[in-house]
């Protein structure tokens, strides 16, 4: 049985090993991803994002329970940050979901950012494809606790949940740009805490101020929850369903969204591959180190060094 066959058949070990190889950038993994692509496109991807400590993992854990009761199979990718000093990481999101680890319908995988920005890892999109090909109905992606700029999740998810807690106060104003603009559903977790109502009205105000974005479109609902007590989770999933229906309701909208997703995915991949290939050639040939030395000794400025290097590279189509 080829790796592709095993993954499509749901073999846990094959899936886990492939995700590892993708993460480690093993070249053979790319070939498997090519084979797997025809089997993707079925799963519904839900992103769960928000600052550290708001309860994302607890929420994902409860969502798993509800989805499994509805007899859906689920894949989970939980992202945690890599230490910028040591390159290591403690991946602790799984702790909150361990009660599902023996459930054959659930696949949970932790991933470290390894220096990648955006709230995800360089391998997240591919890992989503693998879980999709494996046959999971839903894929929940829990991003690294984010601030403002890490919104990569929006490109990969069908529905993005923004999770907040009461008392973020001025932080909400600061978060205006970025994730608050792209959330599909807002969840105020730990809603028993002081300031919950205030937080709800702050978000509502922000949404109302952006009225024209939501005219004829999807107006993000604001929900309260206490994930640890399983309060509000069913309502969150109901809204996810409503959002899914909304996305499907217009073929024009659907194809527009799909177009943007494929366009951005392909452009990221091309950028990534070109840089990696060119840089590795340069490092191997020693040209890169030569350029570094010239700039260090101030014999050349970095802009000229860069242009020299790049213009020497054969362009596609050249002999």
């Amino acid at each position: 049985m080829s790796i592709t066959d095993k993954i499509v058949a749901g073999d846990i070990r094959a899936v886990a090993r492939l995700i590892r190889d993708i993460d480690d950038m093993v070249p053979e993994a790319r070939e498997v991803l090519k084979d797997l692509y025809p089997f993707t496109g079925r799963a519904y991807v839900v992103g769960v994002t928000g600052a550290p400590g708001v309860g994302k993992s607890t929420l994902v854990d409860q969502m798993l329970t509800h989805l499994r009761k509805a007899e859906k199979t689920v894949g989970v990718l939980a992202v945690d940050p890599t230490s910028p000093f040591s390159g290591g990481a403690i991946l602790g999101d799984r702790v909150r979901m361990q009660r599902h680890s023996m459930d054959e319908g659930v696949f949970i995988r932790s991933m470290a950012t390894r220096g990648y920005f955006g709230g995800l890892t360089q391998s997240t999109k591919s890992a989503i494809d693998v879980l999709d090909a494996m046959g999971k109905d839903y894929i929940l992606v829990e991003t690294v606790g984010v601030g403002q700029d890490e919104i990569d999740i929006v490109r990969s998810a069908d529905t993005t949940l923004i999770v907040l807690i009461p008392g973020m106060g001025d932080d909400i104003q600061a978060l205006k740009a970025g994730i608050l603009e792209v959330g599909d559903i807002f969840v105020i977790n730990k809603a028993d805490r002081e300031g919950a109502d205030r937080t709800v009205s702050d978000i509502r105000l922000m949404i109302e101020m952006d009225q024209k974005r939501y005219e004829n479109g999807w107006k993000p609902p604001i929900l309260t929850a206490q994930a640890v007590f399983d309060k509000g989770v069913k309502e969150i999933l109901d809204e996810v369903e409503k959002h899914a229906t909304y996305l499907r309701s217009s073929t024009e909208r659907q194809s527009g969204i799909k177009y943007e997703k494929v366009r951005s995915e392909l452009s990221e991949m091309i950028k990534d591959k070109i840089v990696r290939d060119v840089l590795s050639d340069l490092i191997q040939s020693g040209e890169f180190e030569d350029a570094v030395q010239l700039v260090l000794q101030r014999k050349l400025d970095p802009y000229t060094a860069c242009d020299n290097i790049v213009s020497k590279k054969p362009k596609p189509g050249d002999k």
Binding site: V26, S83, G88, A89, V95, S101, M102, I108
Partner: protein, 126 residues
């Protein structure tokens, strides 16, 4: 890093986990009160190179070998299993016979634990 059984003291496990992180390893912390089945399932889903079992409550003679056994059953016995915590001296050789590669007792310097892993556990991509 996993804590099988009823033992609820995880400070040691957390300290080791941090030492591993500082050494550049990625550590999946799977928490307290895990059954051997849950630990093995998590290890397979995460495709780890090594499992570290922490036990201070004395159930190691059953729980640790059971983890090794399950890994073999699932065709994942390339995953190295180590143990740490409080063990009677006389249990250690027996544990090693069942397939636990190394046992670290209290007082072992963290540098030694990390060094052992670097020297004895092959990361998959190498």
């Amino acid at each position: 890093m996993a804590k099988p059984g009823l033992d609820g003291h995880d400070r040691g496990a957390r300290i080791i986990a941090r030492a591993y992180r500082d050494a550049g390893f990625e550590v999946v912390y799977s928490g307290l009160h895990q059954t051997p089945e849950e630990i093995v399932q998590a290890a397979i889903q995460e495709d780890v190179d090594m499992i570290g079992l922490s036990s201070l409550a004395g159930a190691h003679m059953y729980l640790f070998p059971r983890v090794v056994e399950l890994l073999k059953e699932k065709g994942a016995d390339d995953i190295v299993v180590c143990g740490g915590g409080i063990f009677p001296e006389e249990d250690i050789p027996q544990l090693k016979k069942t397939g636990i590669k190394e046992i670290f007792t209290p007082g072992t310097p963290l540098t030694e634990v990390v060094k052992w892993v670097k020297e004895n556990v092959e990361p998959r991509s190498s």
